[in-house]
């Protein structure tokens, strides 16, 4: 198997081509679109799970057994603010991504 892979990689050769062609295949995560991010005041949070249910991208998990009970995956959170609007105990707010303004 190792030999096969080595053989394959040795046979690859760099060729000069003209015109548009992509040589690196990459996608950026949707979190890069975010202008503001939601943050949680854990003192006020009642662990109800409303934010988790309303999140349109399903990136919020609520762990009732943890002190920092609300976990947001910022790689994919687009910063829409729906969680902040829906929070019944008003323990969430949006803060700017690029520092305080």
């Amino acid at each position: 198997m190792q030999k096969q892979q080595e053989k394959h990689s040795k046979e690859l050769k760099k060729c000069r081509v003209l015109g548009p062609v992509a040589t690196i295949f990459a996608s950026s995560t949707t979190g890069s679109w975010r202008l503001e991010r939601p943050v949680i005041d854990y003192e006020k949070c009642i662990k109800c799970g409303t934010c988790e249910r309303f999140c349109p991208t399903n990136v919020i998990d609520v762990y009732k057994d943890r002190a920092e009970c609300v976990v947001i995956n910022y790689d994919y959170c687009k910063g829409c603010g729906i969680c902040v609007n829906e929070c019944p105990s008003k323990c969430m707010k949006m803060i700017p991504e690029r520092g305080e303004e």
Binding site: V17, L18, G19, P20, V21, A22, T23, F25
Partner: protein, 401 residues
């Protein structure tokens, strides 16, 4: 080698068949239709082993041909007039992706006014889309320049698509005696299609034509400019090879009796045949006139045309397209830029639009005007040489009936 009676469209088909095109996606349009039809007949009869894709428009015809070309086959299409206009967007895809398609363009005016007939306005409108452009004088040149175009376009130093422009009806539908080379000779000259640049292949994937940012776009355009600049020498080299193999001399610019000429007319396409006749006729009357026939318009043959026009004091340029809003037609503009440091008088003539014959009389009239300008007997010239006397009074309609 055999002689056949062919019209221009049949000669184009003959050349595409000899080049063994593998994928054809053509949409019929007058006066190109018989190219589409004849190719489909050949495929149906099994005389040409190719995939014939029936498409719903010229936009798709060139899209299919371009992407088929990217898979690594010799792909073909052909069009005219409004069909070429509809291809506009894809023309740049073909050239930008460096797919060397050879496409006969049967010159016809672009509507409106609706016309079916010849002028160069359709091809001239696409002159900056990164395609080579060859203009044919007669049916033999349609065959020869198409064969030549395959070699030039597919050359590694060029990799640029080519239009072979033939005048609608004057060439496309007029029968002439044409020398057709044997398949074996053409196989030796053109050879099988080899993919030399990027390609679409599931076994070796790459992503062609991705979004290109401002950090690289200029360089990719420059690659095309570089190819255009190279191609003129490649054309010269392959024309020499063509002459050795097939015995016919092709020219980038042909100077016809220009060496001792007092005045020279620059022209393209089928009207050059008439112009040569007029040159012979006027020389019998002792008037020293000459013709510069431009076969390659893209890239513009700077060196070759300059050589032919060297030392000429009065030059006329005949544009078979209106060049609306410009100072003159496109051939005149290029010629003027070419000669800007020379001490000469370059006059722009427009005529032969929408199928109007470029007659012996009109070319003679141009030459006589140029001679009078040279002798100081005349200052103004007749820009629209074949315009009727009453252009603004052509129609009257009854309104509010």
């Amino acid at each position: 080698m055999v002689f056949k009676m062919l019209d221009g469209n049949e000669a184009a088909v003959e050349a595409m068949k000899l080049a063994r095109v593998q994928v054809i996606s053509a949409y019929p349009i007058t006066p190109q239709s018989s190219i589409s039809e004849k190719l489909s007949d050949l495929v149906a009869a099994g005389e040409l082993k190719a995939e014939y894709v029936r498409v719903e428009s010229e936009h798709t015809a060139l899209s299919v041909a371009t992407t088929a070309g990217l898979t690594g086959v010799r792909a073909a299409t052909a069009t005219a007039s409004n069909g070429l206009a509809l291809m506009h967007e894809i023309l740049s895809m073909t050239s930008g992706n460096r797919v060397p398609i050879v496409m006969p363009v049967v010159n016809r005016g672009v509507a409106a006014p609706w016309t079916l007939w010849c002028e160069h306005g359709d091809a001239m409108a696409q002159r900056d889309m990164g395609w080579l452009q060859f203009y044919c004088q007669n049916v033999q040149e349609v065959l020869d320049l198409t064969l030549l175009a395959y070699r030039v376009a597919e050359d590694e130093r060029v990799l640029t698509p080519a239009m072979v422009c033939l005048d609608g009806f004057f060439l496309s539908h007029s029968m002439q005696k044409t020398q057709v080379p044997e398949q074996r000779l053409v196989d030796d000259f053109i050879g099988p299609y080899i993919r030399k640049n990027t390609y679409i292949d599931p076994d070796d994937p790459m992503f062609c034509c991705d979004l290109t940012g401002s950090d690289e776009f200029t360089e990719m355009r420059y690659q095309q400019k570089y190819a255009m600049d190279n191609s003129i020498d490649v054309i010269e080299e392959i024309e020499n090879e063509f002459e050795i193999r097939f015995g016919r001399k092709l020219h980038i610019v042909e100077g016809y009796k220009t060496e001792d000429a007092d005045v020279v007319l620059v022209a393209l396409g089928s009207m050059c045949g008439t112009a040569k006749y007029v040159v012979d006729k006027m020389r019998q009357e002792g008037k020293k006139v000459g013709l510069a026939k431009v076969t390659v318009f893209r890239p513009f043959p700077v060196k070759q045309l300059k050589e032919v026009l060297k030392g000429k004091k009065v030059i006329g340029v005949f544009d078979r397209s209106a060049g609306l809003g410009g100072q003159g037609g496109p051939v005149w503009s290029e010629t003027s830029a070419l000669m800007m440091n020379e001490n000469c008088d370059i006059r722009n003539y427009v005529g032969g639009l929408g199928g109007r014959d470029v007659t012996i009389d009109n070319i003679e009239k141009i030459y006589n005007e140029l001679l009078e300008i040279k002798e100081g007997k005349r200052t103004v010239h007749t820009e629209w040489i074949d315009l009727k006397e009453n252009p603004m009074e052509l129609r009257q309609v009854t309104k509010n009936v």
